[in-house]
């Protein structure tokens, strides 16, 4: 409450009830679906669309309201509970950052819900699916709206829960169940950092309030290392959710979930939550250059690693997944180089075009019953809408002028250039690879000859596929519509960069807006464009014209290829070495042996000892009467000697 005054005078005039209603609409939808209409799938779908749509409308209301107030900040906080010295508030905070996130989340969520009514048609868990999606939307909105770290943590975890439920949506598939578990646990490892940061900040600053924490970190009052630790803790949490190296391993596996889920959660919103978190506490990172440096390098490494792995994937969804990781790395790289605006801007544009791409891949899957690019090809003529929207998304992602991705990626590279040339070089090479692998995917999927898709296994009762993979066809309007709608921002969202519109709006959320100079430099723009085109060209050369076969490239760079194909062996190291061998068979087994043989051994052993002693002592009870008499006399003598020795006469 203390820092409420810090809000600018030009606070948005929006009613607090509207803000809560944004969260409440999908929540009500969720409740209704969960309790009443689980058994009526159609109603569930429409209810979910209604709930999210309402939230979407309200989000736009909020956005315009905040824009009217020039990105001003409004905070409404209420005490939730207290435990001793601990007082936890529950509140909403609206500023430019929140408004942008709200719009992104609700828009994508709305479109994905619409798409899902087509995609999930006939699935046994149709109602459950929409309930989970609603719950996810609630959580994500709660996270975005939260005005304090504690509340953020709560929704942060709820987002994780929903991710778990949705990845494991087809729980009867062992791979899905395993992927869901992996996602939750890996992100939770990151959350440890967030939790530690939460504990640290409350202990040191005595508050959870975002504004207060920002002021605390920049006030110079705490020692530098505390701020760095806090920042690193936050970043650990962000790294988990945003799939940063080395915690990125869950995201590719998360593709086991339904494709719309991947589009919403693992492309547009949840994975961006980490970026949002870091952005939210951007002043903290500014106050700690070490932490920022760390963030930048982790981002760069993530971008590079993920891009290299994406080069060799054969599953179109996994290509997109690694691409997502790579782009998230980009965003982190931007944040680490103090490119606050660039990061959020990229988050914004990326959400649209990546959702578009995922939905496109879902559409392809809907036709072919597979994600394996080796079983596709030539789909261009069967599904033109999907093809063209996919092209738009890919171009945007590759950063081709004047699509959305160009603008945001360009800003990031600019910030990197200004900050550290090495980071810039990595960014540029990643840009090349991005263009390459995206068009590799397009050529493999949509061009050439159709290879038949995955035949339907009619014995699998869990399968809901009802098309004919042998004769692929375009998807229904429920799916085509969102693709078309999404391609609009994928093309045009970048134009917001014009005239610093987006920048000013977003920067108002920071306690002290600092200008990092121009957001456009022609040299950077040209270099990145050239690189992107080169990437596309290379892909064209290899996969369309086959001037060089992919096999020969692979043979040339065999060691690298093997490493990329094995995902840098990270999964193997984590699962086989750490989890299975060192942890489960080693340390845990050791502890269990300790529990069974040492701890319980002492317990049972003392019992056995008593029995043993008892058996041994039986020997003195010989049954011979005089031995008993001896006992008596010996007793007398011993007592007498003892007493006289202890207490001499």
């Amino acid at each position: 409450m203390l820092f409420l005054e810090a809000a600018p005078a030009s606070a948005p005039t929006i009613d607090e009830a509207i803000l809560w209603a944004i969260m409440l609409c999908p929540l009500v939808a969720w409740g209704l679906i969960a309790i009443y209409v689980r058994k009526i799938p159609v109603a569930a779908g429409y209810l979910a669309i209604l709930g999210v749509g309402a939230a979407c409308v309200l989000s736009y209301v909020t956005l315009f309201n905040v824009m009217d107030a020039d990105g001003g900040i409004a905070i409404h906080s209420h005490e939730w509970f207290s435990a001793g010295d601990l007082v936890v508030n529950l509140g909403v905070r609206v500023d430019g950052l929140t408004a942008v996130m709200l719009v992104v989340v609700t828009t994508v969520a709305f479109l994905v819900q619409v798409y899902s009514t087509g995609y999930m048609q006939g699935d046994a868990g149709y109602g459950r699916y929409f309930a989970h999606m609603c719950l996810f939307t609630v959580s994500m909105l709660g996270l975005v709206l939260a005005d304090n770290l504690f509340q953020m943590f709560i929704f942060w975890e709820l987002v994780g829960l929903c991710s778990y439920l949705l990845i494991g949506f087809w729980f009867h598939k062992p791979s899905a169940a395993a992927a869901a578990k992996k996602a939750f646990i890996v992100t939770r490892i990151g959350d440890l950092g967030l939790l530690a940061a939460l504990l640290l900040v409350w202990t040191r600053a005595g508050t959870f309030d975002v504004t207060a924490i920002q002021e605390w970190a920049t006030s110079g009052e705490p020692e530098g290392y505390i701020v760095t630790l806090f920042a690193l803790g936050l970043f650990a949490g962000a790294a988990g959710k945003s799939a940063q190296f080395p915690l990125h391993v869950w995201l590719p596996d998360a593709m086991e979930g339904p494709t719309p889920v991947s589009a919403l959660i693992h492309a547009a919103t949840m994975v961006a939550a980490g970026v949002y978190l870091v952005a939210r506490f951007f002043p903290v990172f500014e106050a700690s250059h070490d932490a920022a440096q760390f963030v930048a390098w982790i981002g760069a490494i993530t971008a590079l690693v993920a891009a290299t792995i994406a080069l060799v994937q054969t599953d179109v969804k996994r290509v997109l997944a690694y691409s997502t990781i790579s782009q998230l790395g980009y965003m982190m790289l931007a944040l680490g180089t103090f490119g606050y605006v660039a990061a959020i801007f990229h988050l914004f544009t990326h959400a649209f075009f990546k959702a578009l791409l995922f939905l496109g891949s879902g559409s392809v899957n809907h036709a072919t019953n597979t994600f394996d690019m080796r079983q596709m090809g030539g789909l261009k003529k069967y599904m033109p809408v999907t093809y063209w929207t996919f092209i738009i998304g890919s171009l945007s992602l590759a950063g081709i002028f004047p699509l959305a991705g160009f603008w945001s990626k360009d800003e990031i590279l600019l910030d990197a250039w200004r900050h550290d040339r090495a980071l810039w070089a990595i960014g540029l090479s990643v840009a090349f690879m991005t263009a390459f692998y995206m068009f590799r995917a397009i050529f493999l999927t949509f061009h050439g000859e159709y290879k038949g898709g995955q035949p339907v296994d009619h014995h699998d009762e869990d399968s809901h596929f009802h098309g004919d993979p042998a004769h692929p066809h375009e998807s229904p309007w429920a799916m085509k519509g969102p693709l078309i709608v999404l391609s609009v921002p994928a093309i045009a969202a970048g134009w917001l960069a014009y005239d610093h519109l987006f920048k000013d709006f977003i920067e108002a959320a920071l306690p002290h807006a600092e200008s990092h100079g121009s957001t456009f430099e022609i040299g950077i723009a040209i270099s990145s464009s050239v690189v992107a085109v080169a990437g596309i060209g290379a892909a064209w050369a290899v996969y369309m014209k086959r001037w060089v076969t992919s096999e020969s490239i692979r043979a040339t760079f065999a060691p690298f290829a093997i490493i990329f194909e094995n995902k840098y062996y990270l999964d193997r190291i984590y699962e086989d070495l750490f989890v299975r061998t060192i942890f489960h068979r080693g340390w845990n087994a050791l502890l269990q042996a300790n529990d069974r043989y040492v701890v319980d051994g002492i317990v049972n052993g003392s019992g056995r000892l008593a029995r043993e002693a008892s058996s041994r002592l039986r020997v003195i009870q010989t049954g011979q009467v005089q031995s008993y008499g001896l006992g008596i006399v010996a007793g007398v003598i011993i007592i007498a000697v003892a007493v006289i020795t202890a207490n001499p006469l």
């Binding site: 009870q621 010989t622 049954g623 011979q624 009467v625 005089q626 006399v633």
Partner: protein
Amino acid sequence: MSVGIEHFLTVGALLFCLGLAIALSKRNAIGVLMGVELMLNAVNLTLITFSRFAVSERPITGQAFAVFIITVAAAEAAVALALAVSVYRNRETVDVDQLNLLRS
């Protein structure tokens, strides 16, 4: 050379311990009983010694005590022998080494 209380007590103590040694070492139940009788005699000797030497308002106490001990000893001996006979009927022996049905 005079004989004092210590002398009598010494004889009493020695006789007591002799009786004890007999009671603890004889195999025959009746032998054990004899040891016990010797111990009781030693106690009587001690009592009479004290009755003679101790400073007391009622020196007769020791003698009275001795009378009771003799009486009880008789009763005890009778019962002991009866039990010995009873054991003998059952086991055809009064050897205490053989009395080890009850053990450990």
